[in-house]
């Protein structure tokens, strides 16, 4: 995932804050004392995940010119690799708050992959990625993240 321009917008932050159930005035009200003390509305700690809205190639958003793997006329409209992947871990490091009105960039670096046995005798295939969110204006790192996904693979059937 790479994003050249991730505009941090107050209305987007408001929608995100409502969704996670945290309507802290620092996130939702530019006129509040909390926001004023921080130099404006800031983003909640997990908001940078929504950079995917600005990734032209995002796999998990329906696009006009591509089949979608969710239901429509049929229960699934397409086979897409990795659709069984689940989010296993997420880690953030913050260098300063993310402010409404600024623009960030996102670059991704591959991490390692590893496999573990699952409790049911299948395997769990983990995949790690590093995400750097930087100021588009200065290039300074604002947030870094480590994203770990897992694909559960069932145990082979004894009859197979």
């Amino acid at each position: 995932m790479a994003v050249e321009r991730f505009p941090i917008e107050a209305s987007h932050i408001l929608m995100f804050a409502r969704a996670i159930g945290d309507e802290n005035p620092a996130y939702t009200d530019a006129a509040s004392d909390a926001a004023k003390a921080l130099g404006g509305v800031i983003a909640p700690p997990t908001f940078t995940m929504s950079a995917t809205q600005f990734d032209p190639a995002a796999m998990l958003r329906p696009k006009l010119d591509e089949p979608w793997f969710g239901s429509g006329a049929t229960p699934s409209g397409a086979e897409i690799a990795r659709t069984g992947a689940l989010h296993a871990e997420q880690h953030f490091e913050y260098f300063r708050p993310v402010l409404a009105g600024e623009v960030l960039t996102l670059t991704e670096r591959a991490g390692t992959t590893w496999t573990k046995m699952s409790k049911s005798g299948g395997s769990l295939v983990f995949d790690e990625r590093f995400h750097d969110y930087c100021s588009a204006e200065t290039g300074d790192v604002v947030v870094t993240a480590r994203f770990v996904s897992v694909i559960p693979i069932p145990a082979p059937s004894s009859e197979a």
């Binding site: 969704a19 996670i20 945290d22 800031i42 700690p45 997990t46 929504s50 969710g70 229960p75």
Partner: protein
């Protein structure tokens, strides 16, 4: 003003109650993660093989963070990391406990290390993690 904390101080808050499918859709719309596992009952039951839709891990992590930021203030986190250890289903509550593990200085500023655990209404952990926050 520095926040005064002691190792072992703890806070528990129910951050979400009876999570609705509509809240999961709100999170999909805000975050841009439109994976049908989280909103498409037909796909998730007939193709993916789950009993119903389930919440994004990041919805639970976002809600979990509220306990930390309500305590130390918005914009004070230095690090925040979690593992998603069980799925969160429609109807679930999220009960978050944050506990002060250690107090020290970082970059010449006072910080606290926290452990965070989010349980569902059955007492089963769904999110476990750690965080570090500036106290000044």
């Amino acid at each position: 003003m520095t926040i005064e904390l002691q190792v072992g101080d703890s806070r528990t808050e129910t951050v979400l109650e009876n999570i609705s499918r509509t809240r999961i859709v709100m999170y999909a719309g805000a975050s841009g993660d439109y994976n049908p596992l989280h909103s498409d009952e037909i796909y998730v039951t007939q193709v993916a093989g789950y009993p119903t839709v389930f919440a994004h891990g990041m919805l639970s992590m976002g809600a979990t963070g509220k306990v930390l930021t309500d305590w130390v203030g918005a914009g004070k986190l230095k690090r925040f990391g979690v593992r998603f250890v069980n799925q969160v289903w429609p109807g679930d509550d999220l009960v978050v406990t944050a506990t002060v593990d250690a107090l020290h200085d970082e970059d010449g500023r006072p910080v606290a290390d926290f452990t965070v655990t989010t349980l569902n209404q059955h007492g089963k952990p769904v999110v476990t993690g750690t965080a570090t926050a500036f106290l000044d």
